[in-house]
């Protein structure tokens, strides 16, 4: 219970929910005070999202009660919840790509004329004023197709405020895809809403986000309530250990102090795609981990895509893989040369979730395990089992469907699929985006191990502590140019931030 005597904005009382045989929530209860920021923490699968869905009327609870300002509240739909001032903003904005920004903001609750028609002019005016209040540099008439996740999130916010000032606002991993500058803007916005009396429930994996911003912390683990305490009384390590249920000494595995000098694996010279990035040159050696920092939209993913021949825009420059010049990179050619790129949207491109772990692990390496064009069962099984062991994928067996795996383990399957092709260069784009603390540390350890085994690894990440923690050397990309290249020993969070944002724009 909150220390003050006022009625909590939200009380969750003994809420349980199960899906089939899986218990998502078991007898969860806690309270959220008005005018405060409340962090809801837990690993993937701890039940945070289920809880949000229950409160906002997406799903009904099996048992238990939700109280809003002391009154029992059970919303039949998210629309009913929104009408009562209870809204959620999700990390993956759910948008209508063909419609424009204003229509997305007002979907399902269009302002109407007396005749029951959509009042289009009023809709655009109100959408624009909401966007302006939010400091979003978006045009209400612009099509949503092609917005970045960060920009799309503004639409979600505008949507949350369209029905009036929210009373209870859930932010589900809102910073996962945001740049530091965008995150700061989000915090200012949230603070403003909080000052006007809203209760804000902030769901996040990024503990570093929460320092000095959160009033109260609630931790869930395996669908059960672990603790609710004032943030000031909790240390970061206490939070983490209550989340994972064991002490975590170290979030970031230390990479070997310096890479053993090995031959160069990937060299990029003067890579340019007009309007996207300009004159990009760098090289990575075997055993080296190269971090690529910068803001979302700085052009980092596009550089990786250009190297792989995936970028649609025409590109000039020279890409050399292990001494072999590649005049016109194509995904197929780069794969032959042993360069593997794991894009940010892994689920969309990486996995056939209805199929077994084995099928997914071996699909990129069928040549190795086939004879006369036919797949040989035993080598396939051996390869899958070896990878599953090396990556410590947690599952009953290689025959299990990928759909049954947790997010972190799915990630490992994607990685394993490419490791099966014995690559020489690995380019990882936001490898821990949306991954929980425990799995994150495992991914970092894996990156270090792969480099130690001789692979050249490029890690693109917006998570600064991550880049600093795993890399030997860090490139900073700003506005399509490499603006800094720093050794790990000389790198600091503030220095990289300054380079990424353009010194002076943000006090580092």
């Amino acid at each position: 219970m909150p220390p003050d005597a006022t009625t909590p904005r939200l009380s969750v009382v003994g809420v349980s929910k199960h899906f089939g045989g899986v218990r998502a929530l078991t007898d969860v209860g806690f309270a959220v005070a008005p005018g405060a920021v409340h962090a809801l923490l837990g690993e993937n699968g701890a039940g945070k999202s289920t809880l949000v869905k229950i409160v906002t009327g997406v799903q009904p609870p099996d048992s238990g009660q939700i109280l809003l300002d002391g009154q029992p509240a059970r919303f039949a739909s998210p629309v009913a919840a929104r009408a009562a001032g209870v809204v959620a903003v999700y990390q993956d904005p759910k948008l209508f790509p063909h419609l424009d920004v204003a229509e997305n903001v007002f979907v399902g609750m269009y302002p109407q004329t007396r005749l029951g028609l959509v009042a289009r002019r009023r809709m655009y005016a109100r959408a624009q004023s909401l966007l302006d209040t939010l400091d979003a540099h978006l045009d209400a008439r612009q099509p949503v197709l092609g917005l970045s996740i960060g920009e799309a999130q503004y639409i979600e916010f505008a949507r949350a405020m369209a029905a009036g000032e929210p009373r209870l606002l859930f932010l589900d991993e809102p910073t996962a895809a945001l740049t530091p500058a965008e995150t700061e803007r989000l915090f200012r916005l949230v603070t403003r809403m909080k000052d006007r009396g809203a209760a804000i429930v902030f769901i996040s994996h990024r503990l570093e986000d929460l320092r000095g911003f959160v009033d109260t912390v609630t931790v869930l683990r395996d669908g059960r309530h672990v603790l609710t305490r004032p943030a000031a009384t909790l240390s970061e390590s206490e939070i983490v250990s209550s989340m994972v249920g064991r002490a975590v000494d170290q979030l970031y595995a230390t990479p070997p102090s310096s890479p053993v000098a090995r031959e160069e694996r990937l060299r990029v010279e003067g890579l340019t795609a007009p309007g996207v990035f300009n004159d990009v040159s760098f090289s990575v050696a075997g055993g080296e981990i190269l971090g690529v920092a910068g803001l979302v939209g700085a052009g980092r993913s596009e550089i990786a895509q250009a190297i792989m021949g995936l970028l649609r825009e025409p590109t000039s420059g020279v890409v050399t893989v292990a001494g072999v010049k590649v005049p016109r990179p194509s995904p197929r050619r780069m794969q032959e040369l042993g360069v593997v790129y794991l894009p940010e949207d892994r689920d969309g491109v990486g996995l056939v979730v209805s199929q077994s772990i084995e099928t997914n692990l071996t699909i990129a390496a069928l040549k190795q395990i086939s004879r006369f064009g036919l797949i040989r069962r035993r080598p396939e099984r051996r390869l899958a089992e070896r990878l599953m062991g090396e990556l410590s994928i947690k599952a009953g067996g290689v025959g299990d469907a990928v759909a049954t795996l947790s997010g972190g383990n799915r990630q490992k399957v994607v990685l394993g699929k490419w490791l099966a092709t014995t690559p020489r260069v690995l380019i990882l784009d936001e490898p821990t985006h949306g991954v929980d603390v425990g799995a994150k540390a495992q991914v970092h350890r894996m990156i270090a191990e792969l480099a130690a085994a001789g692979l050249a690894v490029v890690v693109i990440s917006s998570d600064l502590p991550e880049v600093l923690g795993v890399s030997h050397r860090i490139l900073v990309v700003r506005e399509g140019r490499i603006v800094a290249s720093v050794d790990r020993a000389e790198a600091s969070e503030s220095g990289i931030m300054a380079a990424a944002t353009g010194a002076g724009r943000i006090a580092a």
Binding site: H98, L117, H137
Partner: protein, 345 residues
């Protein structure tokens, strides 16, 4: 190093205009341009193509297709299809005109009968697709046979002669108002009204939203099954109107009327820039697409192409339109992404 020169260097002058995106997205202009090209092409090949009489013929022939194209577009916008429109025309016109024949004194109000029958057929389709979740191609392929079969059973080998119908039918549909043929006027009014309602009616916007992203629509409390259901009812209603117009245009109303209409209509809708992936396009485009299809057919006849060639051309037109659609969608995405990148800097 300051940020400005970098910005200038990176952007160059390759920044695309909003106008280009708008032009690509709203493909009515493109369809119109296509129509102009068609007229120039056939006008050059067939001397009597571009004269007043022939254009009048095209307008008359296109009118009913325009109405059905508007109907079909409403459903295609929700990311579904209606393959039963041809059968609905047959059933609604046969049964509808039978009722009109039996009640000659009731007057033009009975034109509502085929429309109501069409709406009923649409409700069946909508219930199957919206509420039972049957994929629309399968569901409407089934009802295509069912409705046609019902028409045959009801007709039991008979046919309805235009001569047996009250005067208002022929006068109303094939007559003139202020010197203009009624049929094309009806088509224009239907297209304009349907376009207006899809843009300004909350249901219209929901039809677009459901087609654009069904999951998100459900999430934001749009009742997707109900939206799809109502889109089918609207489609059926307009198809019923087309059935009335169709029946009044032919000398005999028979249950095998409008065979294969669904393919022609789909061609019109797709050529008109309505994306088969839902959520994008509008009925005015579909209406112009219907005129284009009719003009192609008319032109082919005038230059003496065989029946087979005409069928070939129709199929080719659908495939070509879908390929263009895929290309345009991709291109719009690219331009918008480039714009975003430019805008962020």
């Amino acid at each position: 190093m300051t940020a400005t020169p970098v910005k200038a260097a990176v952007l160059g002058d390759s920044r695309p205009s909003r106008f280009r995106v708008a032009a690509l997205q709203n493909r009515v202009l493109g369809v119109l341009a296509f129509l102009v090209v068609l007229f120039v092409f056939f006008g050059a090949l067939a001397p009597n193509f571009a004269n007043f009489d022939n254009i009048n013929t095209i307008a008359l022939n296109a009118s009913i297709l325009v109405v059905v194209a508007c109907a079909e577009a409403t459903v295609v916008l929700t990311r579904n299809y209606d393959l039963s429109v041809g059968s609905v025309v047959a059933l609604a016109s046969y049964v509808g005109f039978d009722v009109i024949r039996l009640h000659p004194g009731a007057g033009p109000i009975l034109a509502a009968v085929p429309m109501a029958l069409g709406a009923l057929c649409g409700a069946v389709n909508g219930a199957l697709v919206g509420y039972s979740g049957v994929p629309s191609v399968i569901a409407t392929l089934g009802t295509m046979s069912i409705f046609r079969g019902l028409a045959y059973v009801y007709a039991a080998g008979r046919q309805i002669d235009l001569k047996d119908l009250p005067d208002w039918v022929d006068k109303g549909v094939n007559g003139h108002v202020l010197g203009l043929a009624v049929l094309p006027l009806i088509a224009v009014v239907v297209a304009a009204l349907a376009g207006f309602l899809l843009r300004y009616l909350p249901l219209g916007r929901q039809i677009y939203a459901v087609g654009s992203n069904p999951q998100a629509a459900a999430f934001y409390g749009l009742n997707a099954p109900s939206v799809v259901f109502r889109a089918y009812v609207l489609c059926g209603l307009l198809t019923g109107l087309a059935a009335f117009l169709f029946g009044a245009r032919v000398t005999y109303v028979v249950p095998y009327l409008a065979q294969g209409l669904e393919l022609t209509v789909l061609a019109a809708v797709v050529i008109g820039g309505v994306s088969v992936l839902g959520g994008s396009g509008n009925v005015v485009g579909a209406a112009i697409g219907a005129v284009a299809i009719t003009a192609i057919d008319n032109g082919l006849v005038l230059i003496g192409a065989s029946d087979f060639a005409r069928q070939f051309m129709q199929g080719a037109a659908i495939v070509a339109a879908v390929v263009v659609d895929a290309f345009v969608q991709r291109r719009v995405g690219e331009i918008v992404r480039a714009m975003q990148r430019a805008g962020r800097r």
